[in-house]
Amino acid sequence: MLKIRNLESGYDKLKVLKGISLHVNSGEIVTIIGANGAGKTTLLNTIASIVKAADGEIILNGTDVTGITPDRIVKNGCVLVPEGRQLFPAMTVRENLILGAYTLFRKKGKKTAKENIKNIYSMFPILKDRERQLAGTLSGGEQQMVAIGRALMTGPELLLMDEPSMGLAPIIVKNIFRVVESLRDQGKTILIVEQNARAVLEIADRGYVMETGSLVMEGNAEDLLDNNDVKRAYLGRDYKEFTDK
Protein backbone atom coordinates (compact mmCIF):
# COMPACT_ATOMS: atom_id res chain seq x y z
CA MET A 1 0.00 0.00 0.00
CA LEU A 2 2.58 2.55 1.15
CA LYS A 3 6.30 2.26 0.67
CA ILE A 4 8.77 4.89 1.76
CA ARG A 5 12.38 4.77 0.77
CA ASN A 6 15.14 6.82 2.31
CA LEU A 7 12.89 9.80 2.92
CA GLU A 8 14.49 13.04 4.02
CA SER A 9 12.69 16.25 4.78
CA GLY A 10 12.55 19.19 7.13
CA TYR A 11 11.96 22.90 7.36
CA ASP A 12 14.34 25.15 5.45
CA LYS A 13 17.79 24.32 6.79
CA LEU A 14 16.59 22.18 9.63
CA LYS A 15 16.65 18.56 8.57
CA VAL A 16 14.17 16.56 10.59
CA LEU A 17 13.87 13.22 8.79
CA LYS A 18 17.19 11.59 8.13
CA GLY A 19 16.50 8.79 5.74
CA ILE A 20 13.30 7.01 6.72
CA SER A 21 12.33 3.73 5.09
CA LEU A 22 9.17 1.92 5.98
CA HIS A 23 6.27 0.07 4.46
CA VAL A 24 2.63 -0.37 5.31
CA ASN A 25 0.76 -3.35 3.93
CA SER A 26 -2.85 -3.22 2.92
CA GLY A 27 -5.26 -3.78 5.81
CA GLU A 28 -2.73 -3.19 8.56
CA ILE A 29 -2.56 -0.82 11.47
CA VAL A 30 1.03 0.33 11.65
CA THR A 31 2.18 2.67 14.35
CA ILE A 32 5.16 4.90 14.78
CA ILE A 33 6.01 5.64 18.37
CA GLY A 34 8.61 8.02 19.66
CA ALA A 35 9.26 10.95 21.91
CA ASN A 36 8.39 14.58 21.30
CA GLY A 37 10.40 16.07 18.50
CA ALA A 38 11.42 12.73 17.02
CA GLY A 39 9.93 13.77 13.67
CA LYS A 40 6.76 11.71 13.68
CA THR A 41 4.50 14.56 12.68
CA THR A 42 6.96 15.73 10.05
CA LEU A 43 6.91 12.24 8.57
CA LEU A 44 3.12 12.22 8.23
CA ASN A 45 3.10 15.78 6.90
CA THR A 46 5.69 14.81 4.33
CA ILE A 47 3.59 11.86 3.19
CA ALA A 48 0.56 14.16 2.94
CA SER A 49 2.77 16.55 0.96
CA ILE A 50 2.19 19.45 3.36
CA VAL A 51 5.94 19.40 3.95
CA LYS A 52 8.13 18.94 0.90
CA ALA A 53 10.36 15.89 0.75
CA ALA A 54 14.02 16.79 0.28
CA ASP A 55 15.10 13.36 -0.86
CA GLY A 56 13.85 9.80 -1.14
CA GLU A 57 10.58 8.51 -2.47
CA ILE A 58 7.05 7.84 -1.35
CA ILE A 59 5.21 5.16 -3.26
CA LEU A 60 1.49 4.88 -2.81
CA ASN A 61 -0.26 1.91 -4.39
CA GLY A 62 2.61 1.46 -6.80
CA THR A 63 2.74 5.07 -8.00
CA ASP A 64 5.44 7.50 -7.04
CA VAL A 65 3.70 10.37 -5.26
CA THR A 66 6.77 12.20 -3.99
CA GLY A 67 6.39 15.95 -4.37
CA ILE A 68 2.91 16.04 -5.90
CA THR A 69 0.39 18.54 -4.54
CA PRO A 70 -1.59 17.74 -1.38
CA ASP A 71 -4.89 17.60 -3.25
CA ARG A 72 -3.54 14.87 -5.53
CA ILE A 73 -2.44 12.83 -2.52
CA VAL A 74 -6.04 13.01 -1.33
CA LYS A 75 -7.26 11.97 -4.75
CA ASN A 76 -4.88 9.02 -4.59
CA GLY A 77 -6.76 7.74 -1.56
CA CYS A 78 -4.51 8.88 1.27
CA VAL A 79 -5.84 11.32 3.87
CA LEU A 80 -4.23 12.72 7.00
CA VAL A 81 -6.06 13.30 10.27
CA PRO A 82 -3.78 16.04 11.53
CA GLU A 83 -2.39 16.57 14.99
CA GLY A 84 -4.67 18.65 17.18
CA ARG A 85 -7.67 17.99 14.92
CA GLN A 86 -7.32 21.15 12.82
CA LEU A 87 -11.01 21.56 12.19
CA PHE A 88 -12.65 24.62 10.70
CA PRO A 89 -13.86 25.94 14.05
CA ALA A 90 -16.34 28.58 12.87
CA MET A 91 -18.05 26.19 10.47
CA THR A 92 -20.70 23.65 11.34
CA VAL A 93 -19.99 19.97 11.81
CA ARG A 94 -21.79 19.22 8.58
CA GLU A 95 -19.80 21.83 6.67
CA ASN A 96 -16.60 20.34 8.03
CA LEU A 97 -17.63 16.92 6.76
CA ILE A 98 -18.69 18.28 3.38
CA LEU A 99 -15.33 19.95 2.93
CA GLY A 100 -13.70 16.61 3.67
CA ALA A 101 -15.40 15.37 0.52
CA TYR A 102 -14.27 18.39 -1.49
CA THR A 103 -12.40 16.32 -4.07
CA LEU A 104 -15.38 13.98 -4.38
CA PHE A 105 -17.73 16.86 -5.15
CA ARG A 106 -15.32 18.10 -7.75
CA LYS A 107 -15.59 14.70 -9.42
CA LYS A 108 -19.39 14.94 -9.38
CA GLY A 109 -19.55 12.42 -6.57
CA LYS A 110 -22.27 14.25 -4.69
CA LYS A 111 -24.24 11.09 -4.12
CA THR A 112 -21.30 9.17 -2.70
CA ALA A 113 -20.50 12.11 -0.46
CA LYS A 114 -24.05 12.17 0.91
CA GLU A 115 -23.84 8.44 1.61
CA ASN A 116 -20.49 8.86 3.30
CA ILE A 117 -21.96 11.49 5.61
CA LYS A 118 -24.65 9.00 6.56
CA ASN A 119 -22.04 6.33 7.27
CA ILE A 120 -20.08 8.70 9.44
CA TYR A 121 -23.21 9.63 11.38
CA SER A 122 -23.89 5.97 12.00
CA MET A 123 -20.31 5.50 13.14
CA PHE A 124 -20.49 8.55 15.43
CA PRO A 125 -24.21 9.09 16.21
CA ILE A 126 -23.41 12.08 18.42
CA LEU A 127 -22.25 14.02 15.38
CA LYS A 128 -25.69 13.70 13.84
CA ASP A 129 -27.11 15.56 16.85
CA ARG A 130 -24.35 18.16 16.63
CA GLU A 131 -24.71 18.57 12.85
CA ARG A 132 -25.58 22.28 12.97
CA GLN A 133 -23.23 23.24 15.77
CA LEU A 134 -19.99 25.04 15.10
CA ALA A 135 -17.14 22.58 15.23
CA GLY A 136 -15.18 24.83 17.58
CA THR A 137 -17.85 24.46 20.27
CA LEU A 138 -17.59 20.66 20.50
CA SER A 139 -15.70 18.77 23.17
CA GLY A 140 -12.25 17.40 22.40
CA GLY A 141 -13.51 13.88 21.80
CA GLU A 142 -16.28 15.05 19.50
CA GLN A 143 -13.82 17.22 17.60
CA GLN A 144 -11.59 14.19 17.09
CA MET A 145 -14.62 12.34 15.72
CA VAL A 146 -15.24 15.18 13.28
CA ALA A 147 -11.58 15.12 12.26
CA ILE A 148 -11.71 11.38 11.61
CA GLY A 149 -15.08 11.69 9.90
CA ARG A 150 -13.82 14.50 7.68
CA ALA A 151 -10.84 12.38 6.65
CA LEU A 152 -13.10 9.43 5.86
CA MET A 153 -15.37 11.49 3.62
CA THR A 154 -13.49 10.74 0.42
CA GLY A 155 -13.41 7.04 1.28
CA PRO A 156 -9.61 6.81 1.50
CA GLU A 157 -7.80 3.51 1.49
CA LEU A 158 -4.96 4.76 3.64
CA LEU A 159 -5.60 6.86 6.71
CA LEU A 160 -2.71 8.70 8.34
CA MET A 161 -3.44 9.62 11.94
CA ASP A 162 -1.35 12.03 13.94
CA GLU A 163 -1.71 11.74 17.73
CA PRO A 164 -5.44 11.00 17.79
CA SER A 165 -5.29 10.63 21.58
CA MET A 166 -3.82 14.07 22.19
CA GLY A 167 -5.60 15.96 24.96
CA LEU A 168 -8.37 13.40 25.38
CA ALA A 169 -9.60 11.61 28.51
CA PRO A 170 -8.48 7.96 28.72
CA ILE A 171 -12.01 6.62 28.22
CA ILE A 172 -12.39 8.66 25.03
CA VAL A 173 -8.98 7.53 23.81
CA LYS A 174 -10.22 3.98 24.20
CA ASN A 175 -13.28 4.75 22.08
CA ILE A 176 -11.23 6.41 19.39
CA PHE A 177 -8.88 3.45 19.22
CA ARG A 178 -11.83 1.11 19.01
CA VAL A 179 -12.99 3.09 15.99
CA VAL A 180 -9.52 2.77 14.47
CA GLU A 181 -9.70 -1.00 14.91
CA SER A 182 -13.13 -1.16 13.32
CA LEU A 183 -11.82 0.85 10.37
CA ARG A 184 -9.17 -1.77 9.80
CA ASP A 185 -11.84 -4.45 10.00
CA GLN A 186 -13.64 -2.57 7.22
CA GLY A 187 -10.52 -2.97 5.12
CA LYS A 188 -8.84 0.40 5.63
CA THR A 189 -5.11 0.71 6.10
CA ILE A 190 -3.93 2.92 8.93
CA LEU A 191 -0.61 4.52 9.74
CA ILE A 192 -0.85 6.02 13.17
CA VAL A 193 1.63 8.15 15.06
CA GLU A 194 1.31 8.18 18.83
CA GLN A 195 2.94 9.13 22.06
CA ASN A 196 0.54 6.95 23.97
CA ALA A 197 2.62 3.94 23.03
CA ARG A 198 0.91 1.34 25.15
CA ALA A 199 -2.61 2.05 23.94
CA VAL A 200 -1.62 2.14 20.30
CA LEU A 201 0.55 -0.98 20.42
CA GLU A 202 -2.43 -2.87 21.77
CA ILE A 203 -4.41 -2.29 18.59
CA ALA A 204 -1.57 -2.12 16.05
CA ASP A 205 -0.25 -4.97 13.96
CA ARG A 206 3.26 -3.65 13.54
CA GLY A 207 5.20 -0.74 14.88
CA TYR A 208 8.27 1.38 14.32
CA VAL A 209 10.22 3.30 16.93
CA MET A 210 11.46 6.70 15.88
CA GLU A 211 14.28 8.64 17.47
CA THR A 212 15.57 12.01 16.28
CA GLY A 213 14.62 11.58 12.68
CA SER A 214 15.45 7.92 12.15
CA LEU A 215 13.63 4.67 12.70
CA VAL A 216 15.63 2.71 15.25
CA MET A 217 13.49 -0.37 15.66
CA GLU A 218 10.65 -2.19 13.99
CA GLY A 219 8.63 -5.24 14.80
CA ASN A 220 5.29 -6.79 15.55
CA ALA A 221 3.26 -4.86 18.04
CA GLU A 222 3.40 -7.64 20.66
CA ASP A 223 7.17 -7.92 20.33
CA LEU A 224 7.54 -4.18 20.82
CA LEU A 225 5.29 -4.31 23.88
CA ASP A 226 7.61 -6.94 25.32
CA ASN A 227 10.83 -5.29 24.33
CA ASN A 228 12.77 -3.99 27.31
CA ASP A 229 14.15 -0.92 25.56
CA VAL A 230 10.70 0.07 24.41
CA LYS A 231 9.27 -0.59 27.84
CA ARG A 232 11.85 1.57 29.50
CA ALA A 233 11.76 4.43 27.03
CA TYR A 234 8.13 4.61 25.99
CA LEU A 235 5.89 2.52 28.19
CA GLY A 236 6.74 4.34 31.38
CA ARG A 237 8.06 1.30 33.23
CA ASP A 238 10.16 2.14 36.23
CA TYR A 239 13.86 1.70 35.66
CA LYS A 240 14.04 -0.46 38.77
CA GLU A 241 11.98 -3.18 37.18
CA PHE A 242 14.83 -3.84 34.82
CA THR A 243 17.78 -3.38 37.12
CA ASP A 244 16.32 -5.43 39.93
CA LYS A 245 15.67 -8.41 37.73
Binding site: D71, V74, Q86, F88, A90, Y102, A151
Partner: protein, 296 residues
Protein backbone atom coordinates in the same frame (compact mmCIF):
# COMPACT_ATOMS: atom_id res chain seq x y z
CA UNK B 1 -32.69 70.90 10.07
CA UNK B 2 -35.99 70.08 8.41
CA UNK B 3 -37.26 66.56 7.91
CA UNK B 4 -36.57 66.60 4.17
CA UNK B 5 -33.13 67.98 4.72
CA UNK B 6 -32.33 65.23 7.18
CA UNK B 7 -33.53 62.69 4.69
CA UNK B 8 -31.37 64.28 2.02
CA UNK B 9 -28.31 63.95 4.24
CA UNK B 10 -29.23 60.36 5.00
CA UNK B 11 -29.38 59.48 1.31
CA UNK B 12 -26.12 61.25 0.63
CA UNK B 13 -24.55 59.37 3.51
CA UNK B 14 -25.87 56.03 2.30
CA UNK B 15 -24.52 56.67 -1.18
CA UNK B 16 -21.02 57.48 0.02
CA UNK B 17 -21.25 54.69 2.57
CA UNK B 18 -22.09 52.15 -0.12
CA UNK B 19 -18.93 53.05 -2.01
CA UNK B 20 -16.88 52.55 1.14
CA UNK B 21 -18.66 49.28 1.70
CA UNK B 22 -17.73 48.10 -1.80
CA UNK B 23 -14.07 48.69 -1.03
CA UNK B 24 -14.34 47.19 2.44
CA UNK B 25 -16.03 44.04 1.11
CA UNK B 26 -13.10 43.61 -1.25
CA UNK B 27 -10.67 43.97 1.64
CA UNK B 28 -12.55 41.38 3.61
CA UNK B 29 -12.68 38.76 0.91
CA UNK B 30 -8.94 38.89 0.35
CA UNK B 31 -8.21 39.21 4.04
CA UNK B 32 -10.29 36.13 4.72
CA UNK B 33 -8.50 34.02 2.18
CA UNK B 34 -4.97 35.23 2.83
CA UNK B 35 -4.70 37.42 5.92
CA UNK B 36 -3.44 40.21 3.66
CA UNK B 37 -4.89 43.71 3.52
CA UNK B 38 -4.84 44.49 -0.17
CA UNK B 39 -4.28 48.22 -0.43
CA UNK B 40 -4.74 48.08 -4.19
CA UNK B 41 -8.46 47.61 -3.59
CA UNK B 42 -9.23 51.26 -4.34
CA UNK B 43 -7.50 50.91 -7.69
CA UNK B 44 -9.89 48.13 -8.67
CA UNK B 45 -12.74 50.59 -8.17
CA UNK B 46 -10.93 53.13 -10.31
CA UNK B 47 -10.17 50.57 -13.04
CA UNK B 48 -13.80 49.47 -13.15
CA UNK B 49 -14.99 53.00 -13.73
CA UNK B 50 -12.28 53.82 -16.27
CA UNK B 51 -12.68 50.66 -18.34
CA UNK B 52 -16.47 50.92 -18.35
CA UNK B 53 -16.21 54.56 -19.45
CA UNK B 54 -13.95 53.65 -22.36
CA UNK B 55 -16.18 50.81 -23.53
CA UNK B 56 -19.35 52.82 -23.08
CA UNK B 57 -18.08 55.07 -25.87
CA UNK B 58 -18.97 52.46 -28.45
CA UNK B 59 -21.41 50.06 -26.82
CA UNK B 60 -24.45 50.12 -24.54
CA UNK B 61 -23.90 50.57 -20.84
CA UNK B 62 -24.66 47.04 -19.66
CA UNK B 63 -22.05 45.17 -21.74
CA UNK B 64 -19.55 47.93 -20.96
CA UNK B 65 -20.03 47.40 -17.24
CA UNK B 66 -19.89 43.62 -17.59
CA UNK B 67 -16.67 43.87 -19.60
CA UNK B 68 -15.18 46.25 -17.05
CA UNK B 69 -15.95 43.82 -14.24
CA UNK B 70 -14.50 40.87 -16.15
CA UNK B 71 -11.35 42.69 -17.18
CA UNK B 72 -10.74 44.00 -13.68
CA UNK B 73 -11.24 40.49 -12.29
CA UNK B 74 -8.64 39.29 -14.75
CA UNK B 75 -6.29 42.02 -13.55
CA UNK B 76 -6.89 40.84 -9.98
CA UNK B 77 -6.11 37.29 -10.99
CA UNK B 78 -2.91 38.33 -12.76
CA UNK B 79 -1.79 40.38 -9.76
CA UNK B 80 -2.29 37.39 -7.53
CA UNK B 81 -0.43 34.93 -9.72
CA UNK B 82 2.41 37.29 -10.64
CA UNK B 83 3.07 39.07 -7.35
CA UNK B 84 1.21 37.62 -4.41
CA UNK B 85 1.76 33.92 -5.04
CA UNK B 86 5.47 34.33 -5.57
CA UNK B 87 5.90 36.38 -2.43
CA UNK B 88 3.75 34.39 -0.05
CA UNK B 89 6.85 33.45 1.91
CA UNK B 90 7.39 36.98 3.19
CA UNK B 91 5.60 38.23 6.27
CA UNK B 92 2.05 39.57 6.19
CA UNK B 93 3.45 43.06 6.70
CA UNK B 94 5.75 42.54 3.74
CA UNK B 95 2.78 41.48 1.65
CA UNK B 96 0.88 44.61 2.62
CA UNK B 97 3.79 46.71 1.42
CA UNK B 98 3.68 44.74 -1.83
CA UNK B 99 0.01 45.61 -2.28
CA UNK B 100 0.80 49.29 -1.74
CA UNK B 101 3.37 48.94 -4.50
CA UNK B 102 0.79 47.31 -6.74
CA UNK B 103 -1.62 50.14 -6.07
CA UNK B 104 0.98 52.70 -7.17
CA UNK B 105 1.71 50.61 -10.24
CA UNK B 106 -1.97 50.42 -11.20
CA UNK B 107 -2.44 54.14 -10.63
CA UNK B 108 0.50 55.07 -12.82
CA UNK B 109 -0.61 52.58 -15.46
CA UNK B 110 -4.03 54.22 -15.47
CA UNK B 111 -2.44 57.63 -15.85
CA UNK B 112 -0.48 56.29 -18.80
CA UNK B 113 -3.39 54.47 -20.46
CA UNK B 114 -5.96 57.20 -19.93
CA UNK B 115 -4.93 60.62 -18.60
CA UNK B 116 -5.48 62.84 -15.62
CA UNK B 117 -8.95 63.92 -16.75
CA UNK B 118 -11.97 63.30 -14.60
CA UNK B 119 -14.51 61.05 -16.30
CA UNK B 120 -18.00 59.99 -15.45
CA UNK B 121 -20.01 57.09 -16.73
CA UNK B 122 -23.51 57.75 -18.09
CA UNK B 123 -26.33 57.56 -15.60
CA UNK B 124 -27.84 54.07 -15.63
CA UNK B 125 -31.33 55.54 -15.91
CA UNK B 126 -32.24 59.15 -16.56
CA UNK B 127 -29.59 61.86 -16.43
CA UNK B 128 -27.91 64.13 -13.91
CA UNK B 129 -30.99 66.30 -13.62
CA UNK B 130 -33.57 63.58 -13.19
CA UNK B 131 -34.56 62.73 -9.67
CA UNK B 132 -37.04 60.69 -7.75
CA UNK B 133 -38.73 61.96 -4.68
CA UNK B 134 -38.85 59.80 -1.58
CA UNK B 135 -40.73 61.20 1.41
CA UNK B 136 -40.03 64.69 0.15
CA UNK B 137 -36.30 64.22 -0.38
CA UNK B 138 -35.16 64.41 -3.96
CA UNK B 139 -32.52 61.92 -4.92
CA UNK B 140 -30.91 60.81 -8.12
CA UNK B 141 -32.13 57.45 -9.47
CA UNK B 142 -28.48 56.43 -9.49
CA UNK B 143 -28.63 56.32 -5.69
CA UNK B 144 -31.28 53.63 -6.00
CA UNK B 145 -29.03 51.74 -8.38
CA UNK B 146 -26.18 51.92 -5.89
CA UNK B 147 -28.37 50.72 -3.04
CA UNK B 148 -29.88 47.93 -5.13
CA UNK B 149 -26.55 46.64 -6.35
CA UNK B 150 -25.01 46.82 -2.88
CA UNK B 151 -27.89 44.77 -1.54
CA UNK B 152 -27.57 42.21 -4.32
CA UNK B 153 -23.82 41.89 -3.79
CA UNK B 154 -24.16 41.40 -0.06
CA UNK B 155 -26.97 38.88 -0.41
CA UNK B 156 -25.09 37.11 -3.20
CA UNK B 157 -21.90 36.90 -1.17
CA UNK B 158 -23.78 35.62 1.84
CA UNK B 159 -25.38 32.84 -0.21
CA UNK B 160 -22.10 32.09 -1.98
CA UNK B 161 -20.08 31.69 1.22
CA UNK B 162 -22.82 29.84 3.06
CA UNK B 163 -24.19 27.43 0.51
CA UNK B 164 -21.81 26.78 -2.37
CA UNK B 165 -18.96 24.33 -2.10
CA UNK B 166 -16.51 26.85 -3.53
CA UNK B 167 -17.65 29.45 -1.01
CA UNK B 168 -17.30 27.00 1.83
CA UNK B 169 -13.87 26.00 0.59
CA UNK B 170 -12.83 29.67 0.59
CA UNK B 171 -13.99 30.03 4.16
CA UNK B 172 -12.13 26.86 5.01
CA UNK B 173 -8.95 28.40 3.59
CA UNK B 174 -9.35 31.42 5.81
CA UNK B 175 -10.04 29.36 8.91
CA UNK B 176 -7.29 26.84 8.55
CA UNK B 177 -5.15 26.86 5.45
CA UNK B 178 -3.31 23.66 6.28
CA UNK B 179 -6.48 21.72 7.03
CA UNK B 180 -7.97 23.02 3.79
CA UNK B 181 -4.99 21.57 1.93
CA UNK B 182 -5.46 18.26 3.71
CA UNK B 183 -9.07 18.20 2.51
CA UNK B 184 -7.75 18.33 -1.02
CA UNK B 185 -8.69 21.96 -1.58
CA UNK B 186 -6.32 23.71 -3.95
CA UNK B 187 -5.63 26.68 -1.77
CA UNK B 188 -3.72 28.55 -4.47
CA UNK B 189 -6.76 28.66 -6.72
CA UNK B 190 -8.93 29.78 -3.81
CA UNK B 191 -6.60 32.70 -3.13
CA UNK B 192 -6.64 33.52 -6.83
CA UNK B 193 -10.41 33.38 -6.83
CA UNK B 194 -10.56 35.73 -3.85
CA UNK B 195 -8.53 38.31 -5.78
CA UNK B 196 -10.77 37.91 -8.83
CA UNK B 197 -13.88 38.22 -6.72
CA UNK B 198 -12.83 41.32 -4.85
CA UNK B 199 -11.45 42.95 -7.99
CA UNK B 200 -14.73 42.26 -9.76
CA UNK B 201 -16.82 43.59 -6.89
CA UNK B 202 -14.61 46.66 -6.65
CA UNK B 203 -14.98 47.26 -10.38
CA UNK B 204 -18.75 46.92 -10.22
CA UNK B 205 -18.76 49.44 -7.39
CA UNK B 206 -16.59 51.73 -9.48
CA UNK B 207 -19.13 51.55 -12.30
CA UNK B 208 -22.28 52.26 -10.30
CA UNK B 209 -20.82 55.20 -8.42
CA UNK B 210 -19.03 56.73 -11.39
CA UNK B 211 -22.00 58.81 -12.62
CA UNK B 212 -22.31 60.48 -9.21
CA UNK B 213 -18.77 60.70 -7.89
CA UNK B 214 -16.79 60.65 -11.14
CA UNK B 215 -13.76 58.51 -11.88
CA UNK B 216 -10.22 59.73 -11.77
CA UNK B 217 -6.93 57.87 -12.06
CA UNK B 218 -5.89 58.78 -8.50
CA UNK B 219 -9.21 58.16 -6.77
CA UNK B 220 -8.07 54.82 -5.40
CA UNK B 221 -5.89 56.06 -2.55
CA UNK B 222 -8.70 57.92 -0.86
CA UNK B 223 -11.04 54.99 -1.24
CA UNK B 224 -8.41 52.58 0.03
CA UNK B 225 -8.08 54.58 3.24
CA UNK B 226 -11.81 55.01 3.75
CA UNK B 227 -12.49 51.39 2.89
CA UNK B 228 -9.82 50.34 5.35
CA UNK B 229 -11.42 52.42 8.09
CA UNK B 230 -14.74 50.80 7.31
CA UNK B 231 -13.30 47.29 7.26
CA UNK B 232 -11.68 47.87 10.66
CA UNK B 233 -14.79 49.57 12.00
CA UNK B 234 -16.97 46.61 11.06
CA UNK B 235 -14.47 44.00 12.14
CA UNK B 236 -12.02 42.58 9.64
CA UNK B 237 -13.25 39.59 7.73
CA UNK B 238 -16.96 40.22 8.03
CA UNK B 239 -18.51 41.38 4.75
CA UNK B 240 -21.96 42.13 6.14
CA UNK B 241 -20.54 44.11 9.05
CA UNK B 242 -18.51 46.02 6.47
CA UNK B 243 -21.69 47.21 4.79
CA UNK B 244 -23.19 48.30 8.09
CA UNK B 245 -19.97 50.07 9.04
CA UNK B 246 -19.74 51.63 5.57
CA UNK B 247 -23.22 53.09 5.85
CA UNK B 248 -22.45 54.28 9.35
CA UNK B 249 -19.30 56.08 8.26
CA UNK B 250 -21.10 57.52 5.25
CA UNK B 251 -23.85 58.88 7.47
CA UNK B 252 -21.41 60.29 10.01
CA UNK B 253 -19.48 62.05 7.25
CA UNK B 254 -22.62 63.31 5.64
CA UNK B 255 -24.01 64.78 8.85
CA UNK B 256 -20.65 66.15 9.90
CA UNK B 257 -20.80 68.40 6.86
CA UNK B 258 -23.94 69.99 8.20
CA UNK B 259 -22.19 70.90 11.46
CA UNK B 260 -18.50 71.27 10.66
CA UNK B 261 -16.72 72.68 7.63
CA UNK B 262 -16.43 70.15 4.77
CA UNK B 263 -12.66 69.97 5.16
CA UNK B 264 -13.05 68.18 8.48
CA UNK B 265 -14.89 65.27 6.88
CA UNK B 266 -11.79 63.12 6.48
CA UNK B 267 -10.47 64.13 9.87
CA UNK B 268 -13.57 62.71 11.45
CA UNK B 269 -13.18 59.33 9.81
CA UNK B 270 -9.52 59.13 10.79
CA UNK B 271 -10.47 60.00 14.37
CA UNK B 272 -13.04 57.20 14.28
CA UNK B 273 -10.36 54.80 13.07
CA UNK B 274 -8.05 55.80 15.91
CA UNK B 275 -10.78 55.48 18.51
CA UNK B 276 -11.76 52.05 17.24
CA UNK B 277 -8.18 50.83 17.13
CA UNK B 278 -7.66 51.90 20.72
CA UNK B 279 -11.02 50.97 22.21
CA UNK B 280 -12.16 47.92 20.29
CA UNK B 281 -9.66 46.75 17.66
CA UNK B 282 -11.90 43.82 16.76
CA UNK B 283 -14.41 46.30 15.31
CA UNK B 284 -17.94 47.18 16.32
CA UNK B 285 -19.39 43.90 15.13
CA UNK B 286 -16.31 41.73 15.47
CA UNK B 287 -16.04 39.37 18.38
CA UNK B 288 -13.03 39.87 20.58
CA UNK B 289 -12.62 36.14 20.81
CA UNK B 290 -12.42 35.63 17.08
CA UNK B 291 -9.92 38.43 16.60
CA UNK B 292 -7.68 37.12 19.33
CA UNK B 293 -7.29 33.91 17.35
CA UNK B 294 -6.13 35.72 14.25
CA UNK B 295 -2.48 36.34 13.64
CA UNK B 296 -1.33 39.63 12.28
Amino acid sequence: MSGEQTLQYIFAGITVGSIYAFVAIGYNIIYNATGIINFAQGEFVMLGGMIAYTFSGFMPLLPAVVLAVLITSAVGSVIESVFIRRMRKTSVLGMIVVTIGISILLREAALYIWDEQIRALRFFTGSEISSVSILGARISPQVLWILGITTIIVAGLFLFFKFTLTGQAMRACSENLRAAKLCGIRTDSMVNLSFMLSAGIGALGGCVVSPLTQTHYAMGTDLAIKGFIVAILGGLGNAIAAVAAGLLLGLIESFSISILPMAYKDVISIIILLIILVVKPSGIFGSRQASSMKDY
